[in-house]
Amino acid sequence: MNTPDLNRRLEEINAETNASRKNLKVAELVTELFREIGCDPVIVGGSAVEFYTEGHYVSGDVDICQTGQRLPTPREREEVMSLVGRPLGVRRWDVCGVMVDLLGSVETTSTAAFQQIGKLKLIQIEDLIAERILVATVPARDENRLNVARALLAVAIAGEVEIDFEELERVAKSPDYRVSEELHTLIAELESRKQ
């Protein structure tokens, strides 16, 4: 990406007033820059939840992992990110007011394809739901955290986000998560609210 293009994108992001869209644009720009050096970033965590559930979970940061064999070296991380933001610490940058965390290889139990918005890859919703149920129930039940899982499940059940329920069941049941019972309870709860 040449400097005028990069500056134009940064201006556009700075002018964006919707927090959710701004996060998405920052994630997209960072993704593109890392693709230029042969990496393949994936958005995980709260920002992925936000993009699936539409602003009900406006995450303060964007968590980016890498998929595939090619990971950026520490030097590449610094050089790429210095084009768009300022460092806030190890692996963390401020890009137009959005905090970007560059993590390592993506951890996912799902074998489904990554969801994609434009050029942006998102962690599979099947894995995200299982992960959110796990962190909401272990070591203790946390209703606020469980609401995140409910929100993700709700958009999937309503058909607003494509999901493979068999894959979700497999991921939830897997030794990585073991949250199958909690998943069934949440689905039953949401189905009953629909009636």
């Binding site: 998405l24 709260g46 939840v49 993009f51 699936y52 559930t53 539409e54 602003g55 009900h56 979970y57 406006v58 995450s59 303060g60 940061d61 050089e79 210095s82 084009l83 300022r86 460092p87 806030l88 610490g89 401020d94 905090m99 489904a112 394809a113 990554f114 969801q115 994609q116 918005i117 434009g118 606020n144 609401n147 995140v148 409910r150 929100a151 499940l153 709700a154 958009v155 309503a158 058909g159 607003e160 986000v161 494509e162 949401l190 609210r193 629909k194």
Partner: protein, 60 residues
């Protein structure tokens, strides 16, 4: 519907519908979380003259 691969335009189009579904399911509550740990934020600002990071100049 947000299929496995969608365009920006389709993501935009589906925003209201996704929001409506979430409101029906859990109510009109924002599931916000702070950007990072507030204690770390305070520490960073204390260490960097009110800024979150060290003075920074782009590498030429």
């Amino acid at each position: 519907m947000l299929t496995r691969t969608i365009s920006w335009e389709d993501w935009e189009k589906g925003r209201a519908a996704r929001r409506a579904v979430v409101v029906r399911a859990i109510g009109d509550i924002e599931l916000r979380r702070p950007a990072g740990d507030p204690r770390k934020d305070a520490l960073l600002r204390k260490l960097n003259n009110g800024e979150r990071g060290m003075p920074f100049e782009k590498t030429p």
